[in-house]
């Protein structure tokens, strides 16, 4: 019910998938283009001539499985981001999927991302093998061979960092980095990061940073003191100070 949901049916996906035999021979493009629309860059861009020239601009692409070598040029040319390249020969258990991904930030090589199905639901986790910067960028992910018909997109893992200092926008990752560098007092981290030096003057973050230090360094909470409370404890306009007269 692609027309109603925007998600191709399993039958539609089956209809465009290459044969087992062809898949066992190496990478190949798979084009999920089910609706005739006036568009032909896939056919005109293929260096192998593997996509038959269109008679009508509304033709659906037909891949010559023998000619296609899975180079992936068409991935970048397809305005509908409808093309992926699948390589079932990547390893014994895993296949490589190359897919277009137009979101920032791009994943890093080696990063474990969420692998999503055609409705955007999380199905598995996948390792990013290659990141080809371009327009659009192309991401290669290694996935379980059993899931190649299901997976069609990725998303970064949701952030696990929690905001520790709202004013200076520092999260637990930022703070742990300072601690790893050997800065183990509130004052030291304050001077380096501006934690506690924003408009709230440490009211929100002080108990949190003390606890974070205690947790990371496995020390009792009371072995840490808050940062030095310098005047003034609340922000005040310079003009108000300047206007003061005895």
């Amino acid at each position: 019910m692609l027309e109603k949901t925007g998600v191709p049916t399993p039958e539609q996906v089956d209809s465009i998938f290459p044969t087992e035999e062809r898949l066992s021979q190496g990478p190949i493009a798979i084009i999920e283009c089910f609706q005739p629309i006036p568009c032909d860059p896939c056919a005109t861009s293929c260096p192998q001539g593997a996509i038959a020239p269109f008679m009508d601009i509304n033709d659906l692409p037909i891949i010559n499985n023998k000619k296609c070598n899975g180079c992936g040029i068409c991935i970048m040319k397809c305005p509908g981001l409808a093309i992926i390249v699948l390589d079932m020969t990547y390893s014994e258990t895993q296949a490589l999927i190359r897919l277009p991904y137009e979101f920032s930030p791009l994943p890093q090589i080696g990063e474990i991302v969420l692998a999503l199905d055609r409705s955007g639901a999380k199905v598995a986790e996948a390792e990013v093998i290659r990141v080809t910067k371009g327009k659009p960028p192309i991401i290669s992910i290694a996935v379980d061979k059993a899931l190649v018909k299901t997976l069609r997109n990725i998303r970064p893992q949701p952030s696990e960092a929690a905001i520790l200092c709202r004013c200076s926008d520092l999260n637990t990752d930022d703070i742990r980095e300072f601690i790893a560098q050997g800065h183990t007092t509130v004052d030291a981290i304050k001077r380096l990061s501006r934690l506690g030096m924003g408009p709230c003057q440490g009211r929100t973050c002080t108990p949190l940073i003390i606890r974070e230090l205690a947790t990371v360094l496995s020390k009792p909470v009371e072995s840490f003191q808050p940062g030095t409370y310098r005047p003034v404890v609340k922000s005040i306009k310079l003009g108000e100070l300047a206007e003061y007269t005895e």
Partner: protein, 355 residues
């Protein structure tokens, strides 16, 4: 420069009680209150207070604020609103911002009753709009009559978490669940029962794993935790909610006391770092007293008695003859309020404070 006998920082239950006690003795008192409305957190308390007659039991918080304000109506007590204390200096000068004006005060004694700050905890998404301190939600609905949410998850089953959950129901807001990391409900059980009677689940040994939403809060994921307070995988529950209230306790607002050089002691039972003080609320620095949540987080009833005691002690320090019975009466009230099983934690904390 403003000269006064006693400077009181904060016009909440402790500060107003201190000002009333010292003012009644004829001292010149200046009370600085940062809000445009006096009464501190009393003004948003719609529930009837516990305690006994001396602490206005069975009256509601906002009514008690009015009683206290009546008690400081005397020519020698000045209540300055929109006035935030800014700093305490070595030479005994205290500064403040009054409206948009910077002022200096040279008091002969000070009672710091600055209250407390709501604590936050760390989880992904903890800064999303829709994640509030429980007190903020209380301010919105009880002080300003604004419905803060449609569906709330409350983190914390101490008295604040339980009371605010109930007040949310009264304001027509759905409370999806109250989540409490401890194995037991921390607040008064009568408050918990009021919620359960309304069908609100209370999940102990549970906490918030993360908060999610596009731009503003849309869902809260909670999970069970083990004895080591670590989350247990596959126990996650995702609650759809537009608001998450954090009621995980308060931290005393002690910046001014640190600045003044007061000896500070870490007492988790009282909310973290608190000023060392003797039985009469005197800190380690002569002439500086602490009361209310700034001296250790307790109930408002304790804040009122402690404030009165601090005011009397300051008056005595300034040379006024205060009969021992007045001081002893405060001690007796405090002892009664902290007696019983519900006061065990506070008593343990106070034990650590004095030595």
């Amino acid at each position: 420069m403003i000269y006064t006998d006693l400077l009181v920082v904060g016009a909440g239950p402790a500060g107003l009680s201190a000002a009333a006690a010292a003012g009644t003795q004829g001292l010149d008192v200046l009370v600085l209150e940062r809000s445009h409305q006096p009464g501190g957190q009393l003004v948003k308390q719609t529930h009837m207070f516990f305690g006994s007659k001396e602490q206005y039991a069975a009256y509601r918080g906002f009514e008690i604020a009015d009683f206290l304000l009546d008690m400081i109506k005397m020519p020698n007590v000045k209540l300055q609103l929109n006035a935030t204390a800014l700093a305490a200096y070595d030479d005994g000068i205290w500064t403040a911002q009054v409206g948009e004006k910077y002022i200096k005060v040279k008091p002969r004694a000070v009672v710091v009753a600055a209250g407390a700050n709501e604590r936050n905890i760390l989880f992904p998404g903890n800064d999303l709009p829709g994640v509030y301190g429980a007190g903020a939600v209380q301010t919105l609905m009880n002080q300003y009559g604004v419905r803060p949410a449609k569906r709330v998850v409350m983190l914390g089953a101490g008295n604040i978490g339980l009371i605010v959950s109930y007040q949310l129901l009264q304001a027509g807001v759905e409370v999806a669940a109250v989540v409490e990391a401890s194995p037991n409900i921390g607040g008064y059980l009568v408050h918990a029962s009021k919620l359960r009677r309304m069908g609100v689940p209370i999940l102990t040994s549970h906490t918030v794993k993360r908060a999610d939403g596009n731009e503003t809060l849309e869902s809260v994921t909670t999970w069970a935790i083990d004895e080591k307070w670590q989350g247990i995988p596959s126990t996650e529950v995702i609650w759809s909610a537009d608001t998450l209230c954090i009621a995980v306790g308060l931290s005393p607002l002690c910046e001014l006391l640190w600045q003044a050089g007061c000896k500070m002691v870490f007492v988790p039972e009282l909310g973290g770092y608190v000023p060392y003080r003797d039985g009469n609320m005197a800190t380690s620095i002569e002439g500086i007293y602490a009361a209310g949540d700034a001296a250790g987080v307790e109930e408002a009833s304790v804040a009122m008695v402690g404030g009165k005691l601090a005011g009397l002690s300051a008056a005595r320090y300034l040379g006024v003859d205060i009969p021992d019975e007045s001081i002893l009466d405060c001690h007796k009230q405090l002892e009664a309020l902290r007696s019983g099983p519900a006061g065990a934690k506070i008593r343990a904390g106070l034990g650590k404070l004095t030595h």
